[in-house]
């Protein structure tokens, strides 16, 4: 590290020399390379690994000396010079923010933005330049390359030679293939090679040099290449050409989906809404079409509700928003979440308003079950037991009231319990559970003693009642109640 400039120069020169001669196959020194390789490999096998010892492991589990461990370590010690320390400071300051910028392995976000930025139609045409470029111009001398390779840049390779060279990652000009027949032969050869990298390279060339109509027509009968083109267009984000292609192929549903997919990249809610509007008329299946329409309507709704509620909340006049400040914006939330929100903040509103739960239910044809579940969860969270009660009360034509739950009362009990409803409330609903076993299970689980005791009494099950007696607190009212029942002469016990 402390090598002086001069040393470094010398070092570099010597290594340059070495690299050059070693790669020249005709030189006798190449034999040296052979033996050096042999010695190297021998060392690999014989003196295998100083890392063969017992592994040391840091707390975070990275074995000391592993690559990911060392990245942290070596990046941390940035040298001892003043400059180094200065850099270190910057680096640690930067590292946090820039770390977050690192794309996740599967993300391709920067890609589409890059290509979308280029609107000039011919902007992609530089590939062939890159391919036909002689490296001596633009690169530092290619020391590692044997002389022979410079012949690569001659222009008289046949189609199959060209494809083979592309496959080896070698520079090769495609420009001289001018006739359609040559170009298609090039593509066929690439297809036969199965190397996606080469197929894509040829496709880029064809895309640039053929008219859209001819390109599409020829690809229609070459399925492998066609799939690669579609994948490639998706990757570079060339949405327009992709949609033209789908239209040409009459793949209408893919066209629709591919267009709809774009909305994921639009952050601004108004713009996203406008975009979704353009999706409604796309050729989706009937089923999907309804969903897309709903997606648009929902966002339209959410924008109105959001503006309204943000205003209400900041004005500070409305009790519900004061007591329970909103945790997040409702924009882009799923339908059921939106329904929950509206049951929470707008439960009593008349059906005419956009934010009323009943209005949402009607607009989106939310099934009863779904609606009751969501409303129950929202009202229970607010501990509005009266609303909960009303949710399950139905009146028949004689004016008698009856309790009914489309979701089954066992579910009601569980949701109430999750929202820590008091025992009296729980008890009431446990009692409404029809199946006796389920009822007993729930009552035992949630300690609704009265329900358990009464049920065993009704079942005339003395043994279970006795067993339950040992589970309740000594001297409690429950114990007394059990004792009273057990000593009753009215009951004919079955055991």
């Amino acid at each position: 590290m402390n090598r002086t400039k001069g040393d470094e120069e010398e070092y570099w020169n010597s290594s340059k020399f070495k690299a050059f001669t070693f790669d020249d196959e005709d030189d006798e020194l190449s034999q040296l390379k052979e033996s050096k390789r042999a010695v190297n490999s021998l060392r690999d096998f014989v003196a295998d690994d100083d890392d063969d010892e017992l592994e040391r492991v840091s707390w975070s589990g990275e074995p000391v000396g592993s690559i990911s461990w060392s990245i942290k370590e070596t990046a941390g010690h940035s040298g001892s010079t003043q400059e180094g320390r200065e850099q270190l400071k910057n680096q640690s300051r930067n590292s946090f923010s820039s770390y977050a910028q690192l794309p996740k392995p599967s993300s391709t976000y920067s890609l589409s933005s890059f290509f979308r930025g280029r609107t000039r139609p011919g902007s992609f045409q530089s590939l062939s330049d890159a391919l036909s470029d002689t490296p001596s111009k633009s690169y530092a001398p290619e020391l590692g390359r044997p002389k022979g390779e410079y012949r690569d840049y001659s222009n008289d390779w046949s189609v199959s030679d060209t494809v083979r060279r592309l496959r080896k990652g070698k520079v090769c000009s495609l420009e001289r293939f001018r006739s359609l027949q040559d170009k298609l032969q090039l593509l066929e050869e690439a297809e036969n090679m199965h190397d996606g990298n080469v197929i894509t390279a040829v496709l880029i060339f064809l895309k640039r040099t053929l008219s859209k109509e001819i390109l599409f027509r020829e690809l229609e009968v070459r399925q492998v290449a066609l799939r690669h083109l579609i994948h490639f267009l998706k990757e570079i984000g060339d949405q327009k050409l992709l949609i033209d292609l789908f239209r040409f192929l009459d793949r209408t549903e893919e066209l629709a989906l591919s267009h709809y997919r774009e909305h994921l990249n639009i952050q601004d809610p108004e713009k996203r809404k406008e975009f979704l509007k353009t999706c409604i008329s796309l050729p989706f299946s009937a089923e999907d079409s309804a969903h897309i329409q709903d997606h648009y309507t929902l966002l339209e709704r959410q924008i109105i509700i959001e503006a309204n509620d943000r205003h209400l909340e900041s004005a500070g006049q409305t009790e519900i928003f004061r007591k329970h400040p909103r945790k997040a914006s409702i924009l882009n939330m799923p339908l059921v979440t939106t329904l929950f929100y509206s049951c929470f903040y707008h439960y009593t509103e008349a059906e005419g308003t956009f934010s009323s739960p009943i209005n949402l239910k009607k607009t989106f044809k939310i099934p009863d079950k779904q609606y009751v579940l969501t409303a129950l969860a929202a009202r229970a969270k607010l501990r509005a037991w009266h609303d909960v009660d009303a949710l399950f009360t139905t009146k028949n034509w004689l004016g008698y009231t009856k309790k009914r739950a489309p979701i089954g009362f066992h579910r009601v009990v569980e949701i109430l319990h999750k929202n820590s409803a008091p025992v009296q409330i729980l008890q009431e609903y446990v009692n409404l559970v029809e199946d006796v076993d389920t009822k007993l299970n729930l009552a035992t689980k949630f300690k609704c003693h009265d329900v358990v005791i009464d049920t065993y009494r009704d079942l005339k099950d003395r043994q279970q009642l006795l067993a339950y007696r040992s589970k309740v607190d000594k001297g409690s009212a429950e114990e007394e109640k059990i004792d009273a029942i057990l000593s009753s002469s009215q009951i004919r016990w079955k055991n």
Partner: protein
């Protein structure tokens, strides 16, 4: 460090050494001191073949992760970027190169593409005006990475999606190339079997590559007797079910990445007294899991229900061994005891770790919801009520359980019913979109395209035929002392492994009918060997089959294959290769549509 790679029937250390040598040769091309800038995704796979010490021997002095803006300071001659060929990474590299300080010492830039150079990426660098800045632009074909003595993976997370959704065969090409490398090291594989469209493609590519490789005859004595290529879409069912082996459950619950797992730290707090003992560590505990650890090798493939008894038996043996010290009287005895201490302490540490992990897993497997989910899965797989809307799935949606869990279950039901009735499918779709968001319509379409979730066509369910013929559901399963591969899912025998089992005995001719129901062609190819290399098998000597899962494999399937390898009269030992080690969750996740 890599001794465990040579434990198996085939010494995979040979492969590891070959790729290490290639890495050294590249590093030596860039003479002088170096800094490596890493595409972070690659550090995991690279960690399996090299340690920092190797890089250091070749003058790598600094290592950084690739990120935007300026490169950190480093007083080195060479800056080498180790990257996957992805366009978005090219943008970052360009940013790094362009913001390089011109007044500072000139540094040489190089790129090493892993596993392949890409013309598209180089084009991008050219467009950004930096292509000329790189002296060496090379590729490092790290196609198959040795994970264990019998396990190789390409760790290509997008392979399934590319093959079965996009129809992009690039990863198949890499698979074929990886197989050619293997053959160069371990000899030509005389027989190739396959099932599925992708398997057919890979076999074709291999045959073509062999023909083009007109050079010298491969003179390595063949180690493998057979190659079996299997498409993942031949068996879409298995990865959807919850794996019930120890390793499988660790992967299901915590996710194993490049043989490492990150665990909640509480259970691993050091029990030493004194300062710091009270403070619980907050950073996740990271452990390496492979067969280098004796205890792990013993329990990884067991059904989780059989792990507890092994652990307690081990605990007794270890404490008895420690007790021995009281019996050591003579100097000789004491010396012998002391010499065994390091091994005993390692064993104790390993036991402590796995006891903690087993406790963590048990918390999950004994929960009510886990039980309910498992019951549902098992009903589907044994063919019960697969044709109507399922209550449990409905409940999961209503309670907004994680979307991936719901999708796994719905797909499982669909696969076990050869597609759902249109009405049932529409109902699930609607519930999912309303609860999780309409944008998931894109994901649902992907699942449909992959064949995981689809309407039943022709009104016929062929799953019962497949299930009965291949004996996929076994009612009497012995989890402690298994007699059949179905122990890995406590009743369900993975279809993929059953196909492998039946191929080795009595042969696929016996199941022609089922093979015709399963998607894609099945085939057999021979690669003739010169007489000198033809093997004469000793009586009782097992055959070695390389089985390649195109599109991913789960740990439970690996466990089932290891079970078959160990059968005394099995006749076949397996080495497993795949495009990606995966489970149902990581699989579905890779198929989900995300913003660009």
């Amino acid at each position: 460090m890599a001794a465990h790679l040579s434990y198996g029937r085939v010494n995979l250390n040979v492969l590891r050494e070959a790729v290490r040598r290639e890495l050294r040769e590249f590093l030596d091309k860039c003479a002088g001191s170096k800094a490596i800038v890493w595409d972070e995704y690659l550090t995991g796979p690279f960690g399996l073949i090299a340690q920092y010490s190797l890089l250091k021997e070749h003058e790598v002095e600094k290592m950084f992760t690739l990120k935007g803006s300026r490169l950190p300071a480093a007083d080195v001659k060479n800056i080498i970027f180790f990257v996957r060929p992805r366009l978005e990474l090219m943008d970052i590299i360009a940013e790094n190169v362009l913001s390089e300080d011109r007044r500072g010492p000139a540094r040489d830039f190089h790129i090493l593409f892993v596993p392949r150079r890409s013309l598209l990426c180089e084009q991008r660098l050219k467009d950004l005006g930096v292509l000329g800045s790189f002296i060496h632009r090379e590729e490092y074909s790290l196609d198959l990475i040795p994970f264990d003595g019998d396990l190789l993976s390409m760790e290509s997370e997008a392979a399934f999606k590319e093959c079965y959704l996009e129809g992009d065969q690039t990863s198949l090409y890499h698979a074929a190339k990886g197989l050619m490398t293997l053959q160069a090291l371990y000899g030509t594989i005389p027989q190739i079997f396959g099932k599925g469209e992708c398997a057919r493609q890979v076999a074709n590519m291999m045959i073509r590559m062999k023909r083009e490789f007109t050079g010298s005859q491969n003179s390595v004595f063949p180690v493998f007797d057979n190659l079996l290529l299997l498409d993942r879409n031949v068996d879409l069912l298995t990865p959807l079910a919850t794996q019930l082996t120890y390793e499988g459950l660790i992967d299901e619950i915590y996710g194993i990445q490049n043989s490492y797992v990150k665990l909640p730290p509480e259970k691993f707090a050091p029990k030493k007294q004194g300062d710091g003992g009270k403070e619980l560590p907050t950073e996740a505990k990271k452990l390496q899991l492979n067969s280098a650890e004796e205890l792990y090798a013993e329990i990884r493939d067991k059904n989780f229900n059989a792990v507890g008894s092994v652990l307690s038996k081990k605990a007794k043996i270890i404490s008895a061994a420690f007790e021995e010290r009281h019996n050591a009287k003579t100097v000789g005895e004491i010396k012998q005891f002391v010499s065994q201490l390091p091994h005993m302490q390692a064993a104790r540490g390993s036991l402590a770790n796995h006891t903690s992990i087993a406790e963590l897993i048990k918390d999950v497997t004994t929960s009510e919801d886990f039980f309910d989910k498992l019951t549902m899965e098992q009903e589907f797989m044994s063919g019960i009520d697969t044709d109507k809307v399922n209550n449990y799935i409905e409940d999961c949606i209503a309670q907004k359980h994680p979307l991936i869990k719901v999708l796994r279950l719905v797909c499982l039901q669909s696969v076990c019913n050869s597609g759902l009735k249109q009405k049932v499918l529409d109902y699930y779709k609607r519930e999912i979109l309303q609860t999780y968001g309409y944008e998931h319509i894109l994901t649902l379409h992907n699942l449909e395209k992959a064949g995981l979730l689809k309407p039943q066509t022709g009104g016929r369910n062929s799953y019962p035929t497949i299930r009965k013929t291949l004996r996929l559901w076994m009612d009497d399963v012995n989890e402690q002392n298994p007699t059949d591969i179905s122990y890995v899912y406590s009743g369900y025998a993975p279809l993929s492994v059953r196909l492998a089992q039946l191929l080795s005995r009595p042969g696929w001719r016996s199941i022609e009918e089922v093979l015709r129901i399963l998607p894609g062609p099945h085939f057999e190819e021979r690669q003739p060997l010169p007489t000198g290399l033809q093997k004469k098998r000793q009586p009782g000597e097992n055959r070695v089959t390389l089985i390649f899962f195109l599109g991913g494999v789960t740990f439970a399937e690996i466990a089932a294959l290891r079970f078959l390898s160990q059968l005394e009269d099995g006749g076949t030992e397996y080495v497993i290769a795949t495009t990606k080690l995966m489970n149902g969750t990581s699989w579905i996740e890779a198929l989900m549509e995300k913003p660009f």
